[in-house]
Symmetry: C2
Subunit: 195 residues, 2 copies
């Protein structure tokens, strides 16, 4: 997706090392983990989004964002965005979210490489849900599945697994993953779904 | 979808008139509007859902539910469920939701007839988002569209309409609908999406 603001906004991706003096920069958001090379977004813009009047953020300033596989239509995940995450998504063409549990931003795929290339962004009738159609690299789910929705309510109301993993979550995220694990991998922290 | 509890739970749909003395019934939830014949669900069951341990309700006791068109994969809407709404959905095979703004339950299609026949129910990895694949009668959107996601972020970041209505919302809901309206039709109140 081509950013609608290309050339009109002073915004760019930067890579820094943790030795960098972050205090000297303004308008800089840094991921929660500073234990490795960190990607940051520098945003000097304060102009409102062109469709900001149609957006309804919740009381926390967040909006749910559904990500759908642009190739086969599968629903991959749902996560939350605040306005900076939506701006980052629009500007970079890859999905960025806000984790409610960690109170921090995350760039989907920052750790795993499993980024989501945005093809189109949709808004629902009430303006309080976003739908993103994206090309998924690898898998969307931090447990190794293509989609986070790999469990189906089956006979007797019990959950059954209805998909096979597409990558080794333990290898990608650096520790063993249980398919039924509810917790976010602490070593990563950037790859959970609804956070 | 066949209810997993059929035969094991004392649960049934009832139609009542507003003259009925509701105070005499226990475990009865009544829609916000009592100005017309009301459909109620009587639920005597307190047994936990078979997958209740995998579900994570938010601090309000709600969970977001994405509804996807089982026929073509389109994402139709997102709304919220509390446990009774999820139970109603499982028991009836049609989607039921909880409206946060109106603090009441709604049965999708109760007014319009545009019900959603549940084909399968999925849970995400963290257990805090539900995905429902359903056969949609008519349109999911109270503004007359098949999907609530009929607006796309287009060139310059402005919203553009990317679908045609499939029914006359004004005729179905009893008053004029503007395609760009954010508000829930007050005359119905049961058909908004994320509520």
């Amino acid at each position: 997706m081509v950013s609608p603001w290309k050339g009109t906004r002073n915004r760019h991706l930067e890579y820094i090392h943790i030795e960098m003096d972050l205090g000297k920069l303004e308008n800089v958001r840094v991921p929660a983990s500073l234990t490795r090379r960190a990607e940051i977004l520098v945003d000097d813009s304060t102009e409102p989004l062109p469709f900001s009047e149609s957006l309804k953020w919740n009381e926390e300033g967040l909006i749910p964002a559904i990500v759908q596989d642009a190739e086969n239509g599968d629903v991959l995940m749902m996560a939350w965005m605040d306005e900076p995450a939506l701006r980052d998504t629009l500007a970079s063409g890859q999905t960025h979210f806000f984790s409610r549990s960690r109170r921090s931003h995350w760039h989907k795929g920052a750790t795993s490489g499993h980024v989501q290339h945005v093809e189109s962004i949709w808004l629902d009738c009430d303006g309080d849900v976003i739908l993103i159609k994206a090309r998924q690299v690898g898998g969307a789910c931090h447990e190794g599945y293509r989609s986070c929705f790999f469990r189906r309510v089956g006979d007797g109301g019990h959950l059954e697994f209805a998909a096979e993993p597409v990558f080794d979550a333990g290898a990608v995220y650096g520790r063993a993953q249980r398919p039924d694990a509810d917790s976010v991998p602490a070593a990563d922290g950037l790859e959970s779904s609804a956070g």
